[in-house]
Every structure is written in structure tokens, then in C-alpha cells.
């Protein structure tokens, strides 16, 4: 059971309150109908699935019900940071290099 810091509730809460919601920063194209089959495949199916730092979405389903983003190390399952939807992807290149 992970302990997850919810950026809206501003505290760490236990995993059963949350739902993982897949990779973060995959925006739905505004002109989605104009995407080629390859582009649509990339948007809908292809995932980076990194061994190391993953940017992912969680929903505080049984808490504030907000979706938010997180950076988590998929080797240790430790969170580096969680942040609100709409805030830019944090630059963790330093962390990633150190891995």
C-alpha cells in the first residue's frame, strides 16, 4: 500500500483512496480527426513504460476526487513529486541521469 501525497489535499494519503490513471502528459489532440492512423496509434496505445522515472496520472478517487500527476521511480516505487493537473511537467533530468 503506497503512501501518496495528494497535491489538492496537501497531505499523504493511503493508496486505497487512489486510482492509477495511466501515463501522464498524453494530451488528446484538438484536431483528433485529422490524426493519421500512426499518430492515433501513438496517442492511444504507445506508452513509454520506463524502468526508472515514470510520469503518471492518479485520481484521488475516494478523497478529493481530483486527477493529478506524479513522477515515480518504477524500480523503487518511490514518488519524486506529485503536482496538479495543468502545471508543467517538472524537469527531473538530473534525477533521471543519476539513475
Amino acid at each position: 500500500m503506497l503512501l501518496i501525497h495528494c497535491p489538492y489535499c496537501e497531505e499523504e494519503r493511503p493508496e486505497p483512496e487512489f486510482r492509477h490513471a495511466g501515463e501522464a502528459h498524453i494530451a488528446r489532440a484538438e484536431n483528433i480527426t485529422e490524426l493519421s492512423d500512426e499518430e492515433f496509434e501513438r496517442h492511444f496505445f504507445i506508452r513509454s513504460n520506463p524502468k526508472g522515472i515514470a510520469f503518471e496520472r492518479w485520481r484521488h478517487m475516494h478523497g478529493c476526487a481530483r486527477f493529478f500527476n506524479a513522477a515515480r521511480d518504477t524500480l523503487s516505487d518511490k514518488f519524486l513529486v506529485t503536482y496538479k493537473i495543468g502545471t508543467p511537467k517538472p524537469d527531473l533530468s538530473g534525477e533521471i541521469r543519476r539513475k
Partner: protein, 417 residues
Amino acid sequence: MRKYSVFAIAREALRGNTGWPEQWGSPEPKKSYDVIIIGGGGHGLGAAYYLAKEHGITNVAVLEKGWLGGGNTGRNTTIIRSNYLYDESAGLYNHALRLWGGLSQDLNYNVMYSARGVMMLAHNVHDVQVFKRHIHANRLNGVENEWLTPEQAKEYCPPLNISKDARYPVMGAALQRRGGTARHDAVAWGYARGASDRGVDIIQNCEVTGIRRGRDGAVTGVETTRGPINASKVGVSAAGHSSVLMQMADVQVPLESFPLQALVSEPVKPVFPCVVMSNTVHAYISQSDKGELVIGAGTDQYTSYSQTGSLAILQHTLDAICELYPMFTRMKMMRSWGGVVDVTPDRSPILAKTPVKGLYVNCGWGTGGFKATPGSAHVFAHTIARDEPHPINAPYTLERFRTGRLIDEAAAAAVAH
């Protein structure tokens, strides 16, 4: 290869079992091979074995970053069955089931394939509809699968609770009698021994750190922790780590890796005669030849390579086990473990050529790869040797995610109403 037999055992017994030869060699890697297989699990070792045995390609190396069979091969609950819905799945898994039947003799290694029957429980009207759809499709596809009433299910598996008052009453079951289990380690070791005997180099503790490509983009070899190795054909068979490897060749795959856990109980005298799966309540159980109840749990919700999972997942599974078999609460969990499973969007594997010439991939088996081991290895070897898929794995392409021609077994069991 020294043949295993009862006579060999008797002979060795008299000399204190000191004369058994190595089951497989541990050579230093050569500079170059015809084919490199990345991943020393059942699928990878099997592919090397069939490359040598059926295609005469023996200048082959299997590179394993840890120890043979240490990935999902050694971490699963060893369920074998082939009663899948779609023609594509039935073809692949039934191919595997046929090979399981003769695998011990073929390898001269007893993989202890035990056709004790796999029973899948239906707990509501929707389950009944779905299972019957499977049974009808299986019958017309020549795949054995039959419907049991709750009473017949109880007769086949006496500990089963078929009370109508159960939270999820058993409304019937689909039984595949030729389904069952096998000894997971023996599958890896048997293939390793067979491949090694035919000249394949099995190289453990050798992690691939890069995939080399020539000017034309074609594969030329791999970088490893033990130096570069050349090969014009590379087959990736690395389960949960397939994404990482494929990215080394700039191939993006639709995969996510999740922790999957399993557990065994303390050993008890035989009490559970078959394999029972209940998808509705997520409970998968059989009893090993040592007497342990072997119980498969679900995946955690988040992606991870940590090879651990949360206690809550085990609790959830045991809730269901104790609901279906209420006498088991006094049993004890003796050991639990986690693996990393690679899951595709349609829950079916990718077993195919890739856009990179000379690069082949066998991945995306999710929670169910063990059962397919011989079939998958067999057609993967074919794909590598001929540079074209076997008709059985032809539908399992990477392109299907672009065209939408999915093989969606999971969706076929969609949630009711």
C-alpha cells in the same frame, strides 16, 4: 547429452550421484552468432531449442541478465489451458497444448505436465453466457472445453463451495480436462539442456545494454555487460523488460509493465485435485506436488519493475479464495512473490517481426504467458528462422494497434450490464 532414464538414476545412485553431467554449459560469449535471443526464460530458451532442432540454426546465443528461468517463468502459477475464444488465440494456445503433451519425451526432461483439468467458474448470468460462447467456439475450433453444472463442478473439485447463499454462487463451470499445470523450472532447464546439447550458448549474468544497428537500420548485434556481440538476427523475449529493450532499437511498443503477485500455502496432504479459476472474484488456485496451495493474485494498479507488490492485492485474492473454499482460513501463506508482467492494450501477445530488419519480438503475454511457452517458442523460432511468421502467429503483429484488428480476449469477457 547423457540421456536421463531410470537406469541412469540407478547407476548414479550407486556412485553417490557424483557422475551427473552439467545440464547446460556456461561458455564465454563468442564474438558473433547467427541469432541472439535476449531473455533466458522458457520462451527464449524454447525458441533457441527449436531454432536448433527444427531449423538447423545452432550458432545461437541466449543472453540472460540474471539466472535462467528467473523471470516470469519461475514466478507464475503454472496454469496451462487453451480454451480461448478467438480463432487466433485458440490456434496459438492449442498449438502449445499439443506440444505440452509430448514435451517431457521430446526434451528427455520431465516437465511434469499434469493434465489435472482447469475449471473456470461462472458466478452470474453474464459469466454463463461468456463461458458458453467460449465452449461453442472451442468445439467448432477443435479445442476441448465442456460445461459443468454446479454439482458436477463440486464433484470435480470437492472443496468448492456451491451453496446458493454464497456471495457469488457457482452457476456452473467450463472445464478443460487437458488443462493443468507443469513444473515451471523444469521447462526452463529442460529447454536449456536441450538447446545447449545442440550447440546453443547459454550465457547468464549478461545484460543487454544496447541494440546495434547498421547504416541500413538493420540489426547488427547487441551491447552487453560482457561486451559487444554481433548477430544479424536478434529475438527479444524479455517479458516485463521488453519495452526497455525495444526502445534500444527505437521501436515503440504498446506495453505497460505491472507487478503480479502469487503465493503458496504451507504444504498439506492432497486436498485440491485440479486447477480452479474464478475471473469474477480474481481467485486462481491449484495444489502443487509438494502439497502447497498455489494461488495467483491480480496485478497492482500501477506500473512497476520492482518485483514486489502490495499486501492489499494478496488480501483481495485470499478473500475470494476463502469465500469459495471456506475451510482454508486456517491455512497459512508460506511464501509470496512478485513478477513483472508486460500487458498490451488487447491483452494478447505480440509475436512478430518488427519495423527493424533482423529484430523480432515476443512479448505482451501479461499474466498468461507460461501456458503458451512451447507453442510460442516454436512459432517464434519459425519467425526468426524464415523471417516471416508461422501462420499461427501471423495475427499477432505490432500493426494491429494501428489498424484496430485486435485480438481482445479481455474485452470478450466484458463486464455485464
